[in-house]
């Protein structure tokens, strides 16, 4: 009944070779790798800037840089970490993992995927080149409040605006790709409520990105027209309103911070059940909590602006809405603890990072709750307390989850186990130093040190020095991480197909390690 024919060729072709492979690739794994490397380079670049900041703040007095350059450093550090390190890392993880997790052959729009990556190196080159231009790099903080960023800004601001546009375009294309992939390309049987939480949180994240990116694009374009084309959107002299800039910025910016934490929730929800050898507690409540965090994120933006002189009614509303976010976030934390409860836990490196995430993200959440209480925010606002808060959320939150994800999935990506001993050293080194770095900043903030100042009064000296020491140690730990990454890629103990004893999900159960270049040309059946 069957007749032998010429051998089939199309399932087995691997990547092309040479540099052009990376330029022209449309493979989700290649693009994921590119994104992850870009974000690592950006992490080290932004980290180097943080080192400049911490070195200047090591002692009172101006030692190393002049105040304007210091402001450029805080600005560039913020922009590079947000748009260059954290977001591309999550997009890279999405590229690698979403098709494998939902049983799709690739991302839905492979060519657009390639463009959305290759825009980024240009955007960041342009942004970084302003450092060497006449007038200096933008020095108005990553929040670029008008009129400091319009009427009073250096000419390089135009490059900054263009760079932000490019980053926005890239993010939007990435988000559209994720949405199209998740909606259209799930394997048979992969219903929405069976999707891994990482896929869910990315779907919600992508939706948030799509909703807010036009706002950012509009804001920077209005800055541009204010600067050059005689409009007065943010210029009081022409009837505009500088405070409205902040409203617009934070309408984008607040969902943006959830964009940077929601995929982290997904990662942690994958890792903890694996190492507790117990299914995730409250899967559906996790999904609903993520969705409600996303919805609430649109309604709380002005809690960044309690001191701008809003009407009392507005302040009350934003205070109530803000502290409400603690409920769904709390549900997530409780669910993770309940997942561990009566599990059978082991503590491999990914689990350590995930546990570090849960503890320190919770600390960041607590200070977030404190900041949400409007009258007290009068004292916290724009101090190091805020700096401590968002670094607990973004470094020990978002960045920790990314590092956890690396250790968790790298055996699947490369087929090699990372060095467990080095991974553990990396974790403890980072965790101790990151707390030495950021915990004292709570105290400096409460004691009254404003943020974004290059020099400070003497009563802040001790804690700043401690914080700087922690900063240098933490920075060094990430250089060590680079070594671990390279070592793992080059070789190491071979990983099993399932990698972890308790691992679940298509990528572990249906694919070998390393995952083949084309994973699911043919959809797997999901039970």
């Amino acid at each position: 009944m069957s007749t032998a024919t010429t051998h089939d060729e199309h399932h087995e072709h691997g990547p092309a070779t040479g540099l052009m492979r990376w330029v022209t690739t449309t493979n989700h794994k290649d693009i994921g790798t590119l994104y992850l490397w870009l974000s690592f380079i950006m992490l080290l670049t932004g980290g180097a800037m943080a080192m400049v900041i911490r070195a200047e703040l090591f002692q009172p007095g101006l030692q190393l840089v002049d105040p304007n350059f210091f402001n450029s450093m805080t600005t560039m550090h913020g922009l590079i970490m947000v748009f260059g390190a954290i977001m591309p890392a999550f997009v890279g993880l999405a590229n690698w993992l979403i098709p494998m997790m939902i049983g799709a052959p690739d991302m839905a729009l492979p060519r657009m995927n390639n463009w959305s990556f290759w825009i980024l190196p240009f955007a960041f080159t342009m942004l970084a080149s302003t450092l060497f231009m006449e007038g200096g790099a933008p020095a108005f903080g990553w929040t670029f409040y008008a009129p400091l960023s319009t009427t009073f800004a250096p000419d390089t601001t135009d490059f900054f605006i263009f760079a932000v546009h490019l980053m926005g375009i890239s993010s939007v294309m990435g988000a559209i790709n994720v949405i199209a992939t998740i909606l259209n390309m799930r394997a048979p049987g992969m219903t929405l409520m069976k999707m891994p939480l990482f896929v869910w949180t990315w779907l919600i994240t992508a939706y948030l990105l799509i909703a807010v990116m036009p706002v950012l694009a509009g804001a920077v374009t209005m800055m541009l027209t204010d600067r050059h084309f005689g409009t007065s959107f943010f210029d009081a002299a022409g009837g505009g309103d500088p405070v409205m800039f902040q409203h617009i910025f934070w309408f984008f910016g607040h969902p943006e911070v959830y964009i940077m934490i929601l995929p982290a929730f997904g990662i942690i929800s994958a890792i903890i059940p694996t190492f507790a050898r117990k299914p995730l507690f409250g899967y559906s409540s996790m999904v609903y909590a993520s969705a409600s965090i996303a919805i609430l994120s649109f309604m709380v933006w002005a809690h960044h602006m309690f001191t701008t002189g809003m009407p009392v009614a507005g302040e009350l509303y934003f205070m109530y809405a803000t502290i409400m976010i603690a409920v769904p976030t709390g549900v997530k934390i409780f669910n993770w603890v309940a997942t561990m409860w009566r599990g059978s836990m082991t503590f491999e490196t990914p689990m350590l990072w995930a546990l570090g995430f849960v503890v320190m993200f919770t600390i960041g959440g607590f200070s977030g709750l404190m900041l949400g209480v409007a009258p007290v925010d009068t004292q916290y606002h724009d101090t190091y307390f805020v700096v401590a808060h968002f670094h607990y959320v973004l470094v020990t939150g978002a960045l920790y989850s990314i590092i956890a994800a690396f250790y968790y999935w790298v055996p699947k990506w490369t087929g090699n186990m990372y060095d467990e001993k080095l991974g553990k050293i990396h974790f403890w080194w980072s965790t101790i130093s990151v707390n030495v770095l950021f915990f004292p900043q709570h105290f400096i903030g409460l004691a009254g040190m404003p943020r974004r100042i290059p020099d400070y009064a003497l009563q802040f000296a001790e804690f700043n020095m401690i914080s700087s020491i922690g900063g240098f140690a933490f920075g060094l730990a990430q250089v060590f991480f680079l070594y671990i990454v390279v070592k793992t890629i080059k070789g190491g103990e071979k990983a099993t197909d399932k990698v972890w004893e308790g691992a679940t999900g298509l990528e572990f159960e249906e694919l070998p390690s390393p995952a083949p270049y084309h994973s699911f040309d043919e959809a797997p059946a999901v039970k």
Binding site: N71, F281, T308, G309, G330, V331, V337
Partner: protein, 380 residues
């Protein structure tokens, strides 16, 4: 409420050790907690801060305790076998509703405090505060007393660049040339606005932090209970010298306040009178040099070289070597859309006349003309 002493006792050994190994040159006067402040509002805010902090600590102990217990007991190496449960509607409802109740409990006192904080009506004294890059202008509206307050030179060993050694300078970066003086036990209303970018006026002990937005006014208030010197800083990034625009509030008795007002008015009259005097070129250039150092050198550089293109050079500039009336105009009224401020509201007629003369006849410029303070006075 537990004071910061407990925290301090806990951290003191750690700190002592770290200070020891780091051979810190700066001296220790550190704080661990928010100031209680000296106004009724600042006390309320402090209490609220402590309530929320302790709620967080208690929840934290619960969550981290459960986590720690489970990490200790439910580990595979101790032979733990994973349970199967993965949901419980009851538990999930409880841990949604309990936090909700706690949040409502926080919201009630927070609402009360916020409403008090925003009630600026029926003030005894009104002070308008204008933020200027990088100083503050205070205007006692009802008294007609107006002056500029900037970082005192003594408080800034080297504010621009190079090596600074603040050791031993007790109020490093926190001292101003002219503090504002206010009476205790009076309701003081502050009205904030800005001449250029957004600044924020913050004095922690007064629990006042309010943005100064160009073109808009905001207000806030303070009722100071104890006399004293209260220091603060600008809290909103406002450009290069954002870190160098401190605030000093000198709270005194009503009587001392009245005496101060009289003295301020007399001083203003004396400055105005001095404008009618005739000065020689040498006198003006000599005086102009110090005015330049205090007001212009921050941007245009001590030698007049500037930082082009943002801060143009004075040496050889078309303004400083061109028509003198344009030169005066730009110094008095500033230049819209740049960091160049209107100095007529900041420095006296004599100072303007001398700095104009200085800039035209020094820093490499040799125009040879001069302007008398009386001319400046006529331009006000």
């Amino acid at each position: 409420m537990i004071s910061s002493r407990l925290l301090r006792r806990f951290f003191a050994p750690v700190l002592a050790f770290l200070s020891f190994i780091s051979m810190s040159s700066a001296h220790a006067d550190y704080e661990l907690n928010m100031t209680q402040g000296v106004t009724p509002i600042s006390h309320q805010i402090y209490d609220l801060h402590m309530i929320v902090l302790w709620i967080c600590v208690i929840i934290g102990i619960g969550v981290f305790g459960a986590m720690a217990y489970s990490i200790m007991k439910h580990r595979k190496s101790k032979g733990a076998v994973a349970a199967e449960f993965h949901e419980s509607t009851t538990v999930e409802i409880i841990w949604t509703l309990v936090p909700l109740a706690i949040l409502i409990a926080i919201a009630v006192p927070a609402t009360a405090t916020l409403i008090d904080l925003e009630d600026t009506s029926e003030a005894d004294i009104n002070i308008q505060v204008n933020g200027i890059q990088w100083k503050w202008r205070y205007n006692y509206i009802d008294e007609g007393v107006e002056f500029i307050s900037a970082l005192a030179e003594s408080s800034r060993t080297n504010g621009q660049s190079g090596v600074a050694d603040p050791t031993g300078n007790e109020n490093y970066l926190l001292e101003v040339d002219k503090p504002i003086v206010v009476p205790v036990k009076k309701k003081i209303r502050f009205l904030f606005t800005s001449d250029d970018v957004i600044h924020a006026w913050w004095v922690p002990e007064l629990a006042v932090k309010q943005d100064a937005v160009p073109g808009f006014i905001n207000d806030s208030w303070a009722y100071i209970e104890e006399p004293g010197v209260y220091r603060g800083q600008c809290a909103e990034l406002c450009g290069k010298d954002h870190g160098f625009m401190p605030i000093v509030v000198n709270a005194v008795s009503e009587q001392e306040y009245q005496e101060w007002l009289v003295a301020m008015k007399a001083e203003a009259a004396a400055v105005a009178a001095s404008a009618d005097k005739e000065f020689s070129m040498e006198e003006l250039v000599a005086k102009g040099e110090s005015v330049y150092a205090a007001n212009c050198a921050a941007c245009h550089g001590p030698t007049g070289a500037g930082v082009p293109p943002v801060f143009p050079a004075i040496t050889g500039s078309s303004v400083a070597t061109g028509d003198i009336s344009d030169h005066i105009d730009i110094i008095m009224n500033g230049k819209t859309g740049t960091a160049m401020q209107a100095f007529k509201t900041q420095i006296s007629d004599v100072d303007i006349a001398s700095v104009v003369t200085f800039q035209r006849n020094s820093l490499g410029n040799t125009v040879g003309d001069m302007v008398q303070p009386s001319k400046i006075k006529s331009l006000r």
